[in-house]
Symmetry: C2
DNA sequence: GTCTATATCATGATAGAC
DNA sequence: GTCTATCATGATATAGAC
């Protein structure tokens, strides 16, 4: 069923705000970003912003939800495209690296922001859907014999912890070259840490 | 040279404030903590706080400095106590796990807080002294042949990235059991990721 | 649904006595 | 060095016209 033009417009307004806050939160952080800033950067009035999101926290919640959904669907898509758990996990790391280069703001907000400071009710990031998906895949790898039998949380943090630290280093500009240049080496280390063979 | 009683007292006042802000920052975050809160919890007046720290950011800077120094000296101490790089790194992970259980607030502030949001001038955490020390040790491991030759940053993030993610999971209460219960398994994975043999 | 103008309030920081 | 009282600013959120 096609959405009406009115609904389209509403979504556009919301999206304008979300695009603006992503940039602002990444640049200055949640608390240093005022509603005025958001209004100016998004070209949406303060009144409209409150109409759509209720309060400032509501904006952050909506952004978190949207980006979390986006990451989840990418991970699911990658997972479905590969047969072995090894290839699935490598594909996830590769995608995370690519996202970091192409949409650093998204990764900054998802992997680096301390959501608990401004979204106290939200589940911690490592309990969120994308991370749950990763753990599910890791668990499947133990079933199939590709990954050594151990605590699933330990295996997941071991497999993805290194790559995530590399992403953080890149976001901090500590790492000066594109992540892709280190992909093979990072993945080699990550997989060795849990591989069965 | 012995410090005078006056200096002792000054240090005590400063320490009272630092103890209070550590707890407050960990609980609510930097921005949700007001100077009034700090004054009340530390039992030090607002005027004295400003006298000693200049401004709110100065408090955070002092705390960061103090805890960073503490972590650095512990790491150096551990490093000096062990002969092989393998044992040094394992000792560091063990100590980080113990610190997380015994002083979760310290680890929360050091490994989890997003300092850039409130200390924009400070170097990113992964360029800080403790992390530099870890990289130095890893580099030494490559020299000695214990660790495979590769980019030092990649090796460091691979070795310590998993353990750090476990610490974050524990701080988020996602992990319900003490980290010590997973130490062997976590270390096994971490070391495999970079070990030469 | 969108906008401008405004109310309300809390905060960081200071002044100045002791 | 320490304290209390106060200021000035800028924030979130709302009211109400269109």
């Amino acid at each position: 069923m096609a959405r009406s033009a009115a609904v389209r417009r509403v979504d556009d307004t919301r999206q304008q705000v979300l695009d603006a806050v992503l940039a602002l939160f990444a640049e200055r952080g949640y608390f240093a970003t005022s509603i005025q800033d958001i209004s100016r950067e998004s070209a949406v009035s303060v009144g409209s912003i409150y109409h759509h999101f209720g309060d400032k926290e509501g904006i952050a919640r909506a952004l978190y939800q949207a980006l979390s959904d986006r990451m989840s669907s990418r991970i699911s898509w990658i997972s479905a495209r590969h047969a072995s758990v090894h290839d699935q996990c490598r594909g996830i790391v590769e995608t995370l690296f690519e996202m970091t280069e192409r949409e650093p703001l998204v990764m900054d907000f998802m992997l680096y922001a301390k959501h608990k400071d401004f979204l106290p009710e939200e589940k911690p990031i490592c309990s969120s859907r994308p991370f749950e998906l990763m753990r599910t895949i890791v668990a499947a790898g133990m079933e199939s014999g590709e990954i050594r039998r151990m605590d699933v949380m330990v295996a997941s943090t071991s497999l993805f912890g290194g790559p995530i630290r590399m992403i953080v280093a890149r976001l901090d500009a500590v790492l000066q070259v594109p992540l892709s240049r280190h992909l093979d080496e990072v993945w080699e280390c990550a997989w060795r840490s849990v591989a069965a063979r």
